[in-house]
Amino acid sequence: MKPVLLDVAGLSTTFPTGRGPLIALDDVSLSLDRGRTLGLVGESGSGKTVLARSIMGLLPAHAHRQGHVWFEGQDLAALSPRDLRDIWGREIAMVFQDPMTSLNPVMKVGRQITESLRHHLRMGKDEARTAAVDLLDSVGIPEPKRRADEYPHQLSGGMRQRVTIAIALACWPKLLLADEPTTALDVTVQSQILDLLQAKQAERSMAMILVTHDLGVVAGRTNEIAVMYAGRIVERADTATLFAETRMPYTESLLASIPRVERPSHTRLQAIAGRPPDLVTRPGGCRFAPRCPYAQPRCAEEEPPLLPAPTPGHTFACWYPVGTPAGDEALARNTASNEASNKAADRAADGR
């Protein structure tokens, strides 16, 4: 039996800081099959970008990574930098967030594509050039021959992101990591780029991890979704299941910040009260508890494990899940005590 394409087991990444280690990624496990797409969703600082980079092994030198990243049965975490470079760009490729800064400003666009073709696929100069022009054409760049001889600053933001996609696709990778590929772009181009990624993924039956802070982006475009909070995966399910049977209150809050699920939204997630926790001095218990409308005393003491739900493939980490009797009761209790304290406050105000 062929091993699964990507199997991440117990992956943790920490960065040393002046105040102590910052645990950006805490014991994350997930797997992804060939040709499937996974949406990785969370607020800023939830660790989704670090997860994407940790899967690749593309981390700053002082970062400390633990755990395993099995890619086609090979542990990437155990590979030497030299062997890793044969995987990067060839087997696993990455599209970065900001096309304004991720292209070399003083290198012609065509050269930036041909260099990986020539390096990984050992193409000759002319062959690589032809392939690069074809790639530019295939990602929807008009006049690809002329554009190949231009510099990045001569292209618009959307065009530049198309170029980085062409670069990522150049060597037919089996896995594409797209790290917030539309965040830095104009609203009008965002869906074009997402459509392009989706089309290319389907056309090449390549696996893709789409990192985003916007649940609306992944709603219609991915097979599965993993929701991250404070360096951990807190809920994971098929896309349809996640929307229909949301269990984790954090996922519910994310959903609530999208006006309508059917209509992809581009608003940032700011509707959740409070801030994500400090990843250096983390409190015990559930990390979402301080901001959670369902939170009970137990949540602050015991960290809920990621456990399977009745629906196959659905896992979540919560003591009082949304849509269960325990969750309903917890929410009702919190609402009642909130009202009571509001009334007490009112009475105090009246008494004066």
């Binding site: 800081t17 002046g18 600082g45 970008t49």
Partner: protein, 290 residues
């Protein structure tokens, strides 16, 4: 806004902000050396050393001995005494030329950075033109046409230091003239002179001092180069540059004649650079602003 990466940079910044960088041992060693040289130069006339211009105090080219700690030169003059007296020329030219440059260039820079407008355009245009000159060549020309002397050398180097100093002081002034406390002072109607003296100058001076120390080093080297070419204070007054030049013909037999003033000058320049650099780091004066 892009998602902030848990990047190392932020951690480094946190490190740095816990306290300003301390002035290290090297800084105090530099200050110590400069203090020693300055004290010796100032008190040279009362020190128990021979007259630096008196020849034949020992056999010519004699290497260091107990009586003449740094040896004697080609005319049998005491090297220790000549080096100490030579420090006078270097330090006087170095510090007074830069003081002159600071006075003129500093005033131009502060006024240009504070008042902006047409004055700034003209002043900085002139500065750009002046900066387009090869400095040492013009110093050489000025000194040779005016006739070499302590005064003309100081004047030439001082004049050439005006443009770079004005440029740096203006940049530094600009950075503070837009700060809230200055804008606040302006809106409540404080007089320009008061604002400049009370708000701008105290903030600009640290940057000016750290740059001035490095500038003094450059001035000392320039004087040395002119003296080496025979275009500084006339003989027999000793200067480090002319002493190095005198010694280079007898390197075979008496290398100490060139090396003693060389070492004195090297240490002085190094100390000035160190002190300037440490102060710059201490006061967070970014190199970009210089």
């Amino acid at each position: 806004m892009p998602e902030p990466q848990p990047d190392p940079a932020s951690a480094d910044v946190e490190h740095g902000s816990t306290g300003r960088r301390r002035l290290g041992l090297l800084f105090w060693a530099s200050v110590g050396w400069l203090g020693l040289i300055a004290t010796l130069a100032a008190t040279a006339d009362w020190l128990p050393i021979p007259d630096p211009t008196r020849p034949g105090v020992a056999p010519a080219r004699q290497p260091p001995t107990l009586h003449h700690l740094l040896g004697v030169d080609v005319l049998g003059r005491d090297m220790l005494s000549r080096t100490i007296h030579g420090a006078r020329v270097s330090l006087v030219v170095g510090f007074s030329s830069i003081a002159f440059g600071l006075l003129v260039g500093g005033a131009v820079g502060v006024l240009a950075g504070y008042f902006r407008g047409r004055f700034e355009a003209i002043a900085m245009g002139t500065v750009d033109v002046l900066l387009a000159f090869p400095a040492l060549v013009f110093a050489l020309a000025l000194v040779s046409f005016l006739g070499p002397s302590l005064g003309t050398v100081t004047l030439a180097i001082g004049v050439l230091s005006i443009a770079p100093i004005a440029r740096i002081i203006r940049a530094s002034t600009l950075a503070f003239a837009q700060r809230e406390f200055v804008l606040a002072a302006r809106t409540v109607g404080a007089r320009h002179r008061r604002i400049i003296v009370n708000e701008i100058l105290p903030n600009v001076i640290p940057a000016a001092v750290s740059f001035a120390l490095v500038a003094v080093a450059v001035a000392i080297v320039s004087e040395g180069a002119l003296a080496f070419l025979g275009l500084s204070v006339a003989a027999p007054t000793p200067t480090w540059g002319s002493m190095i030049n005198e010694g280079r013909t007898v390197l075979q037999d008496a290398p100490h004649i060139s090396f003693v003033p060389s070492a004195a000058m090297f240490l002085t320049v190094l100390a000035l650079n160190f002190a300037g650099d440490s102060l710059r780091a201490r006061f967070d004066v970014g190199e970009g602003r210089l």
